[in-house]
Amino acid sequence: MSAFLALLKRDLVLSYRQGIDAWVVVLFFLAAGILFPFAIGPEPNALMRVSTGVVLSMAALAALLSLDRLYQGDFEDGSLDLMVLGPLPLELTALAKALAHWLSTGLPLLIAAPLLALMLNAPSESYGPMLLALALATPALSLLGGLGAALTLGSRRGGILLTLLILPLYVPVLIFAAGLISRSLLLEDDPTGALLLLSGVDLGLLAITPWATAAALRQALR
């Protein structure tokens, strides 16, 4: 457990000291989000209709953007070899990395999301469900993203390949998150089912992705 926490702390300190990286993700999230009022026109009702969906999909893209450095730096400078040799099982290393990714990108996105929603004229009653959906969706994005980052480690054109590989796997997460938001906004509909479905996806990924990520890392280091 102490090795797990040490790795988590190291990754968080690294991302904190390279402070601009976390900001870049948030700034990308906001900048990409405000493209929509220009592209579909500033008409408030049209924006209101798409606002939460834009926030969700931009969060997915912003999470993707920060993934290619997740293992790359450690792979290049040899830290990853030490992690493999260290006492911590590689599965837990993968989990710690995904958790660090969520804390350094998912959480800032969660904080920035209401700002983007405000600029997109999201209805006031949608903020709660949207934040809940994001809070449940972003861990899934980090777990899947960690797998993608490990699979493409050391490949030519890592970033674009990672996007191609992981975006289709993001689709179900987005569908369930959007389902949770739309269910919560309808008065006669009970959002519990959608909530359980999205949490189930999180738990399932929590069970599967560390193993797959560790297998991919072993391939990368052979």
């Binding site: 797998l147 390949l161 289709p168 689709v171 391939q219």
Partner: protein, 242 residues
């Protein structure tokens, strides 16, 4: 392990090549004959639908392609698993051979479905659960192919692709049951049902013929590709040895 069926018996590429050489003429010949019979039955011998008219004949291409796409991904996942678990040397070759073929069938199923959708549903594309999950299947195939070829070291690409193939298996039951879990535009299962097929025999038999023809064709193409890859590897090894 001398008795019984053992997949490691075919780990020897030479033995596989002999087996493939013996099977290929039968697979190819069977596919040609069944395609001839199936296409005749589908285009001429079977009646037009009472509602859809002749557009129903798209089904004889669409349904078998979709089945091949799903079967191909199932085989891809199985090959990926045996490459990762048993390091079966043929599994990597099989994965690389299956992926483009499966992607092709997925593409054909998507395009024919789209062309069928226009006259019957009035639109080329809807974001229905079956269509969306099938599109994801296509992207999984494409990601698998891209990952296979993304590394300078060939083996590394194949092993990474094997992992994504196994992870992607989760999409297969979603595709299969999407029409039952979500109430969607795409019609529900009408062939593999507990209470027997809900298609009239006059259309079911041409469809079955086409499915068998597609299956034989699928295996003929995959085996040819595997054979070519193994011979290429042998040729390369021989060139290095010289």
């Amino acid at each position: 392990m001398a008795t019984g069926f053992n997949i490691h018996r075919f780990a020897n590429p030479g033995r596989f090549l002999r087996l493939a050489g013996a099977l290929l003429p039968w697979l190819t010949g069977g596919a040609v004959i069944l395609f001839a019979v199936g296409l005749y039955l589908a285009l001429v011998g079977s009646p037009p639908d009472y509602q859809q008219g002749d557009t129903v004949r798209i089904m004889y291409i669409h349904v078998p392609s979709a089945w091949m796409a799903m079967m191909g991904y199932g085989l891809l996942g199985a090959a990926g698993a045996s490459a990762l678990i048993w390091r079966h040397p043929l599994a990597d070759v099989a994965s690389e051979a299956i992926a483009p073929v499966g992607a092709g069938f997925t593409f054909v199923a998507l395009v024919t479905g789209s062309l069928w959708g226009k006259p019957t549903w009035g639109t080329y594309w809807v974001w229905d659960a079956r269509l969306t999950s099938f599109l994801v299947l296509f992207f999984l195939y494409v990601g698998h192919i891209a990952l296979t070829h993304a590394f300078d070291e060939r083996q590394r690409g194949r092993r990474s692709a094997a992992i994504i193939a196994v992870v992607g298996l989760i999409n297969l039951p979603i595709i299969k049951y999407s029409v039952d879990w979500w109430n969607t535009l795409h019609q529900s299962e009408s062939i593999l049902r507990m209470d027997g097929p809900s298609i009239d025999p006059s259309m079911l038999w041409p469809l079955f013929t086409m499915i068998v023809a597609f299956t034989l064709y699928f295996f003929a193409v995959v085996m040819t590709r595997m054979k070519a890859m193994l011979l290429e590897a042998r040729h390369r090894a021989a060139a290095f040895a010289r």
